[in-house]
């Protein structure tokens, strides 16, 4: 398995978000994480991505334990191997869409020209070459999410974490983003952890995990 959570527990104050959640994801696999609001699905995603540290349990990425790494190692991992897509693109408003996609490469020390060339290829793959010179405030919600997907994949990320990536979009734009996102991830061989409460979005994945009362369940396995 490429990425695993083993018996994670996590509390925020007196609220127990995770209570022994385990799941794993293979290389190139797309897994939907579903569950009612407050079930702990976003907390599980944040633990898997090394954004928050679980109170107990382990997160293993290619047999390395995330909590055993230094902060520097963890952020290098997040920058190089992981990609992120959130509900609202979280693009840098002052940069153009092309510069937003090129940003992770620039932070990684790539030359400007090389970074922008690769970013332009990703805009093309996501069918949004026309927004390259625009700033995030000038593009539609669906286009902005496609820019965010391009930014997540441009580094050659091995795992993309997506938290309600279509949550702010209407059905038609949501479908388009999901089709392009999953196509792009499959082509580049990236695994995807897709948190969503929408079944039609989850249906783009290879399988689903349901988070309920802080535990992760594979319902199909018991069926």
């Amino acid at each position: 398995m490429m990425l695993s959570a083993v018996e994670l527990t996590k509390s925020f104050g007196s609220t127990q978000a995770l209570s022994g959640a385990s799941m794993s994801i293979a290389a190139g696999e797309i897994v939907a994480v579903m569950g009612p609001s407050g079930s702990g699905k976003s907390t599980l995603l944040h633990c898997l991505a090394g954004i928050i540290r679980p109170d107990a349990g382990q997160v293993l990425y290619r047999d390395q334990e995330l909590s055993a790494m230094s902060d520097g190692q963890r952020s290098a991992l997040r920058r190089g191997e992981f990609g992120f897509v959130f509900q609202f693109g979280q693009l840098v408003p002052e940069l153009t869409c092309l510069e937003n996609v090129a940003l992770p490469l620039r932070l990684d020390g790539h030359r400007r020209k090389d970074a922008q060339r690769r970013a332009a290829e990703w805009l093309d793959r996501l069918e949004i070459t026309d927004v390259a010179g625009k700033r995030p405030g000038e593009v539609s919600g669906g286009q902005g999410q496609r820019v965010a997907v391009a930014r997540a994949l441009v580094t050659g990320a091995r795992v993309v974490f997506a938290d309600e990536p279509t949550g702010a979009l209407d059905s038609l734009n949501g479908e388009r983003v999901m089709r392009l996102f999953t196509d792009a991830a499959r082509t580049s061989g990236a695994a995807v952890v897709l948190v969503t409460h929408e079944a039609r979005v989850a249906a783009y994945a290879d399988r689903e995990i349901v988070v309920r009362d802080g535990k992760a369940l594979d319902l199909a396995r018991h069926a």
Partner: protein, 174 residues
């Protein structure tokens, strides 16, 4: 689904032989359930009897003669009326899933497991339809989306029922 009216609509766009009509129907509306030839010819003979179609020409060939069918003005009026009439929305008030949940609770069986198993099955079919949709043309997308929205509605009901199971158990066992 009214095969008769679908035939009339297809014939209004152009006269066709019985076989061409079946093929056009299967391609557009048949999905994975093509029409049987018996169904095609019994429908056509009913439309003929009611004066909604007419035989436009006969070509002799090997085996039975090939008849070409055309729509009549009465047929056009029939299609027109059918298209203008709204379909009755399905209320789905007699539902097998609901019956199963109530019976499971009534007999002390694990209703939550039943809901989970159903949920997994629904999502499995939704993934299959999504794959078909993403690889298909616009017609495939439309028909798959129709099915996907209905399955999603079922799934939301499954989730809501799972959340209300304790309350429902109390009521059922009264």
């Amino acid at each position: 689904m009214s095969i008769g009216q679908a035939f009339l609509g297809l014939l209004e766009s152009q006269p066709r032989h019985g076989y061409d009509l079946k093929r056009a129907y299967d391609e557009r509306f048949g999905s994975d359930r093509p029409l049987a030839y018996g169904q095609v010819y019994s429908t056509l003979s009913r439309l003929l009897k009611h004066g909604l179609v007419t035989v436009d020409g006969v070509e002799p060939g090997e085996g039975p003669d090939r008849k070409r069918y055309a729509i009549t003005p009465a047929g056009v009026a029939d299609v027109e009326q059918w298209l203008q009439q709204p379909e009755k929305p399905e209320p789905y008030l007699q539902n097998t899933l609901y019956t199963k949940v109530v019976l499971a609770l009534l007999t002390g069986r694990p209703a939550a497991e039943l809901l989970d198993t159903q949920r997994a099955e629904h999502l499995r079919l939704m993934r299959e339809l999504t794959r078909r949709k993403t690889g298909g043309d616009l017609a495939d997308q439309l028909i798959c989306d129709h099915a996907l929205f209905h399955l999603e509605a079922d799934l939301r009901w499954l989730e809501l029922t799972a959340a209300r199971l304790t309350e429902l158990a109390g009521k059922v066992r009264g």
